[in-house]
């Protein structure tokens, strides 16, 4: 089978390493935190044993576990969404948010936190369970509305114009958010800024019932487009010439990517960088362009980076929680730079 993948050993190695690293890091994240849990408590809780201190059990089940699952799902979603966007736009700088999903979500949240709340609607007092849900609804609605507008506009123009339209809409929405912020009180502003830092800790099991299916749906949808995505690597004219229905593919792939990105932003706030880093690392480490390899690879490496960032953000041994968004960039950027410096010829790879 000379034809399949000449570098199948490298790919096997990559997936084994990523898998093991995820398991180890997940274990570490479960044990270490504001309260350290012994490993046997973690294992026993997972196995459903009743022979565990109820407090520790509760920490594990209600806080650590959903957080780890959220981190894994969010990383997988952003990695895949980034890959899809980079392929569809044939642009190495494309990320999951090029269509304005992020800014749309931030507008939704800004309206709830900055505009509605001061107008006497006390929705978010203490950010209780219902308050949190409202923010999720607001950001999902914002993301969905923006996406709707961009996708409608994008049906009439070429792919480069879609990129620019997405960018322009992001700027426009960003401007509206700035104006809202300008007229807001400091304490309201603080809660908005906190949201914009991103956090995996807000997804409870109740939210998970929505979040997990949304992400899994997006991933499933993406995996249906492995072949047309491969064809798009040569550009739209070529894709068409080998029988790809380009417009339909483009639309559905953008939908899938935006569903993934929108779900993450809705539930966890804007998480930058993972979406751009994971696909690049996947290509670099697997030496492949086939989406049959790159989609699972981006899922794996995205989940791993996401978990690692969350682990660092919670500052093991410190008493603070750092902004997740800052950590993803701090963890991700040097990795990308190292890969680029070693690879040197990005320009040629992306024509």
């Amino acid at each position: 089978m000379r034809g399949m993948e000449s570098n199948s050993r490298r790919i096997t190695l990559f997936f084994s390493f990523t898998g093991i690293a995820i398991v180890l890091l997940a274990g570490l994240s479960a044990c270490i935190g504001s309260v350290n849990l012994p490993l046997d408590v973690v294992v026993k809780t997972l196995l459903g044993s009743s022979d565990v201190d109820p407090v520790m059990r509760q920490i594990m089940v209600d806080f650590r576990l959903p957080r780890i699952v959220t981190a894994l799902l969010a990383g997988a979603a952003l990695g895949t969404a980034g890959l899809l966007m980079q392929t569809v736009f044939r642009n190495p700088l494309a990320d999951p948010f090029v269509l304005g999903v992020n800014s749309g979500a931030s507008l939704g949240v800004a309206i709830v936190l900055l505009a509605l709340a001061p107008a006497g609607i006390s929705l978010t007092a203490g950010l209780g369970a219902s308050g949190q849900l409202l923010i999720i609804l607001a950001s999902s609605a914002g993301a969905g509305a923006t996406l709707f507008v961009v996708l409608i506009l994008s049906r009439r123009v070429d792919i480069m114009s879609v990129l620019i339209i997405g960018l322009m809409i992001s700027y426009t929405i960003g401007a509206i958010v700035s104006i809202l912020m300008f007229f807001s009180m400091a304490e309201r502003l603080q809660s908005f800024i906190n949201w914009s830092f991103g956090d995996y800790g807000n997804v409870s099991w109740m939210h998970m019932r929505l979040f997990a299916p949304a992400v899994l749906c997006g991933l499933l949808l993406s995996s249906l487009f492995i072949k047309p995505l491969d064809a798009l690597l040569l550009g739209e004219p070529y894709a068409r010439s080998v029988g790809t229905r380009v417009k339909r593919t483009r639309f559905l792939v953008l939908m899938a990517a935006s569903l993934l990105a929108g779900a993450v932003t809705g539930f966890c706030g804007p998480i930058g960088f993972l979406g751009i880093a994971a696909p690049h690392l996947s290509r670099y480490l697997c030496r492949s362009s086939s989406h049959r390899i790159l989609i699972p690879a981006s899922i794996g490496i995205g989940a791993l980076l996401s978990l690692a960032s969350d682990f660092v953000a919670r500052g093991p041994g410190l008493d603070v929680v750092l902004p997740l968004n800052a950590i993803t960039a701090l963890v991700g950027a040097p990795i990308i730079i190292a890969a680029l410096v070693k690879q040197r010829n990005m320009q040629r790879l992306f024509g």
Binding site: M1, I226, K227, D230, L234, G243, F350, G351
Partner: protein
């Protein structure tokens, strides 16, 4: 001329085809009323000055661009009624800007040509792999299979592009200036490969090019598109003799020379030279004079200089009263350059 065209098997044909760009409110028509036939097993070269719409025609025939009017028939079927996957089994294209994104080796790129045959997730069987291997072999790119496409030279990448189209196993292959960035040996090699493939595989092969000379030597048939949007079809020799080339390509600075089958630059000469002599030295002496801006004349009185070539070691140059002898063409050219000439 159409009477001479009686193809045994038509792979692709058009009826009243009009090509151009439709901008909604205003359409720009480049050529219209095109009744074309592309016969199976023939290598056809599409020639025409820049901007006459060679690329537009290729794009229209391949379905990348909708025609303004008329029909395209593929194996007797209306192009538009064929679903994309079936169409991709009938027509393949090679464009110049074929750079894949990301890390892709030549084998993976050629494998994209199997898309019209492979399953939903792109899974391929032994027959697919055999076809890919054969395609790489056919263009002489077997050794390139494991190289990254981004690291190939222009010529190598063009071969891989053609292998990708071959892997598609189509009846018709359309190529838009595949030789544009290649040096002469690579261009000749590619033309030879393509002509042989057309003949051996029964492929209907249409290639647009600027390279008149190679097109005349290799093509089974020529399509010449002129600036008025008319297309002349015929055998290369017939078109070369008929003077239609001259009409299509001649400009103020360029003359069609039917005796050599090529174009000649002609800056209007102020000075004339007479050359006496035969063989290769005389030929290149004339070329040197033309290059330096002299016109050639037989009339010794009109000539500012006359050059007699005794043999390849002796040039005798007469200019008015002066006479010089040179032992090589280099010395003669240097003297011509060093001398002062009244314009």
């Amino acid at each position: 001329m159409d009477a001479t065209l009686t193809p045994a098997l038509t792979a692709l044909s058009t009826q009243g085809l009009a090509i151009g760009y439709d901008h909604g409110d205003s359409a720009r028509c480049i050529a219209s009323g095109l009744d074309l036939t592309l016969p199976a097993g023939e290598f056809v070269c599409l020639l025409g000055p820049n901007g006459t719409g060679k690329s537009t025609l290729i794009r229209s025939l391949s379905g990348m661009q909708a025609p303004l009017a008329g029909d395209i028939l593929l194996a007797g079927q209306d192009f538009r009624s064929i679903p994309p996957r079936q169409r991709a089994r009938l027509v393949s294209v090679v464009l110049t800007d074929a750079l894949p994104m990301g890390m892709m080796d030549a084998y993976a790129m050629v494998a994209l040509g199997r898309h019209p045959y492979s399953g939903w997730f792109g899974s391929m069987g032994p027959a697919d792999h055999a076809r890919i291997e054969w395609s790489l072999e056919a263009v002489g790119a077997r050794d390139l299979a494991r190289r990254q496409v981004s690291e190939l030279s222009d010529g190598e990448r063009q071969k891989v592009s053609i292998a990708r189209a071959l892997a598609q196993a189509t009846k018709v292959m359309l190529l838009d200036e595949p030789t544009a960035f290649l040096d002469l040996p690579r261009r000749v090699e590619l033309m030879r490969i393509l002509r042989d493939l057309a003949h051996s595989e029964g492929l209907a092969l249409l290639l647009s090019t600027h390279d008149l000379d190679l097109a005349l030597r290799f093509a089974d048939r020529l399509w010449v598109l002129n600036a008025d949007g008319q297309l002349i079809q015929g055998y290369p020799e017939a078109i070369a003799m008929s003077g239609e080339f001259a009409q299509v390509f001649e400009t103020e600075n360029l003359d069609w020379d039917p005796s050599s089958g090529s174009f000649r630059a002609h800056p209007i000469p102020c000075l004339h030279a007479k050359v006496v002599g035969e063989g290769i030295p005389a030929l290149w002496t004339k070329r040197a004079l033309e290059r330096l801006g002299f016109g050639l004349t037989e009339d010794a009185n009109a000539a500012a200089v006359s050059i007699e070539i005794e043999n390849e070691n002796q040039w005798r140059v007469t200019r008015g009263e002066q006479q010089h002898e040179f032992a090589s063409i280099t010395e003669m050219i240097e003297w011509l350059l060093a001398s002062k000439w009244k314009r």
